[in-house]
Amino acid sequence: MTTAVAKKVSVATSPSLEISRETALHWLEQMMLIRRFEEAAEYAYTQKKVGGFLHLYIGEESIAVGAVAAMHPDDDIFTHYRDHGWVLARGVDPKPAMAELYGKATGLVKGKGGSMHFASVKHHMWGGYAIVGGHIPLAAGMAFSHQYLKRDRIAFCVMGEGATNIGMFHEALNMAALWKLPVVFLIENNMFGMGTAVDRASAVANIYEKASAYRMPATRIDGNDIELVYTTIQEYVNRARSGEGPQMVEAMTYRFKGHSMGDPQRYRTKEEVENRRPDDPLNRWEKKLIERGWADDALIKETFTRVDKQVAEAVQFAEDSPFPDPSELYTDILVEE
């Protein structure tokens, strides 16, 4: 499934394909954590504990977990608003993450951002952005600072396939390619921009082909195959880091939940969603680990139990936390100077 536009990339021969059992189980646990976190968030939303928009990452967990594992901890991530999975994959504590959904003072960004603006600067997680495509030039700018200040870091910009039709995508790609900025653009192609299928919105069905307009190496992979995500991203991140300029990876996936809460999903049938279930990245990884003899049903159950406890604690933390003090209304608007 891998195709390179400007350069041939041989994923299969990558030596780093060999991952340890310990790593494999860690990925499993991270994917489970994201899955359970999202389910808890969805429940809290139905209980009116969480407001606004809530974009769930269920069905796409392999991309964030595999990609984060493939980069350095100080590489800088910018994402779209379907951002919970990326923050958790980066190792951010689920407690302040859940508290942010609850709009509590103990939230990741003090309850001022909510679901769409998860961030943790100390984790080099620069946030979810809610204007489609708006963060793409920011990531290019972060990469510009790395190049200018000669830092050994790259910027990693995650977007949906829908963001590749907006002008900011093209301005940022052009500037990134023109200046050979150390940035990797990851397209999470979950087949729909809200409810509009890819082929109804993009003149180019293979999104990664858009990179060729900027002579940017690009490939398309099965995003639900976590090992393939890991090895591919590692290869592309390494090339961006070594001065070869911007790179693009298109990861094919499928969103099992609606775009946000309250999406009637008239744009697809229940059968279509059910037909995609066997491709669930978490189930696929569980099966693979069992096949390899690295896990059994008991271990999987035990891991889920551990994760469930962690998520329950996060919910409790969010429940118990105070709302922001009214005085917070006027803080952080400008840096005081």
Partner: protein, 326 residues
């Protein structure tokens, strides 16, 4: 204070940038034609030769890219000056300026900063409807931005120096018809603080509240009016966000009459906010309703006579002042 020298508004701005670049390696200038060309209004002329293409960066014609990249670089610890050739082109970058640059700090609970200086030029000169606009109110409307609009070389240099030290995003609006304006400016670094207005002329009969190029129109009119024994006080706001309300109110408490003079349109413009606040805060001191003189509510036409009719000038100001004192 250091020795004063006579310089143009243009060179005062350039000197502020040069000093910032010498002081701080993290300062870069990026924009269309800022480098090899030397800036379409020649504000950056010479800086490319002095600092090189690594720090004075010619960009594609891509305003949202320019602002986005500058904002991201600022988040990464740099201090970029992003030049938008004219304020008209800032419309293309509006999403970046309003949704990213202005909100990075608050939206993420104070954990990030985006101290970009966005330099741009207002102005007109038979450039027709899309190249002659005054959009300062659009930016001054937004919490999270600092918006300044200097009228003199002194204020231009002092405010730009303050902007270069600021940790906040600053929209720095110059005026294309002021670049050749000369004035006394201290040699070396000095700052004009944000949110401090300047009384450009003392008077007792009426206060004109204004900023940018209209300060000069007001001064010319005031000098003529003085010959008729009418003494006008002129308050130059300098900063549009934040605004130094106390200086405005104190002047009106003294003169009891206020005329708000701007180059933008009247409806929902800067004059709307200023007049409303004056009316509320100095109600008991006013001897006449607050008046406004602004650009006429038309897309600016090309024809020179029509263009001239569209803006307040000395004659219109004098006429308005006299009417208010009659």
């Amino acid at each position: 204070m250091a020795d004063m020298i006579q310089v143009t508004y243009r060179d005062a701005l350039k000197e502020a940038m040069r000093e910032a670049m010498k002081r701080d390696e993290n300062v870069v200038i990026m924009g269309e034609e800022v480098g090899v060309w030397g800036g379409t209004y020649a504000v950056t002329r010479g800086l490319y030769d002095e600092f090189g293409g690594r720090r004075v960066i010619d960009t594609p014609i891509a305003e949202m890219g320019i602002i986005g990249v500058a904002t991201g670089a600022a988040m990464g610890g740099m201090k970029p000056i992003a030049e938008i050739m004219t304020i008209n082109f800032a419309l293309v970058a509006m999403d970046q300026i309003i949704n990213n640059t202005a909100k990075i700090h608050s939206m993420f609970g104070g954990t990030m900063r985006a101290p970009v200086v966005i330099r741009t030029a207002a102005g007109w000169g038979q450039l027709a409807a899309t190249h002659s606009q005054s959009f300062e109110a659009w930016f001054a409307h937004v919490p999270g931005l600092i918006v300044v609009m200097p009228s003199t070389p002194y204020d231009a240099k002092g405010l730009l120096t303050t902007a270069m030290y600021s940790q906040n995003p600053v929209v720095f609006i110059e005026h294309s018809r002021l670049y050749g304006e000369k004035g006394q400016v201290p040699q070396g670094e000095f700052r004009v603080p944000f949110g401090v207005a300047d009384v450009k002329r003392d008077g007792k009969d009426l206060t004109i509240v204004t900023y940018s190029r209209m300060v000069h129109v007001a001064l010319n009119a005031a000098n003529e009016l003085a010959k008729e024994n009418i003494n006008v006080e002129i308050v130059d706001l300098r900063s549009l966000r934040p605004i130094d309300w106390e200086t405005v109110y104190n002047s009106i408490r003294k003169t009891h009459r206020a005329l708000v003079l701007t180059e933008d349109w009247m409806t929902y413009g800067i004059s709307a906010e200023v007049a409303a606040r004056i009316g509320y805060e100095t109600f008991d001191y006013l001897d006449a309703p607050v008046e406004r003189l602004t650009q006429l509510e038309v897309p600016l036409p090309y024809a020179s006579n029509l263009e001239k009719l569209s803006f307040p000038d000395e004659a219109k100001v004098m006429q308005q002042v006299k009417a208010m004192l009659a």
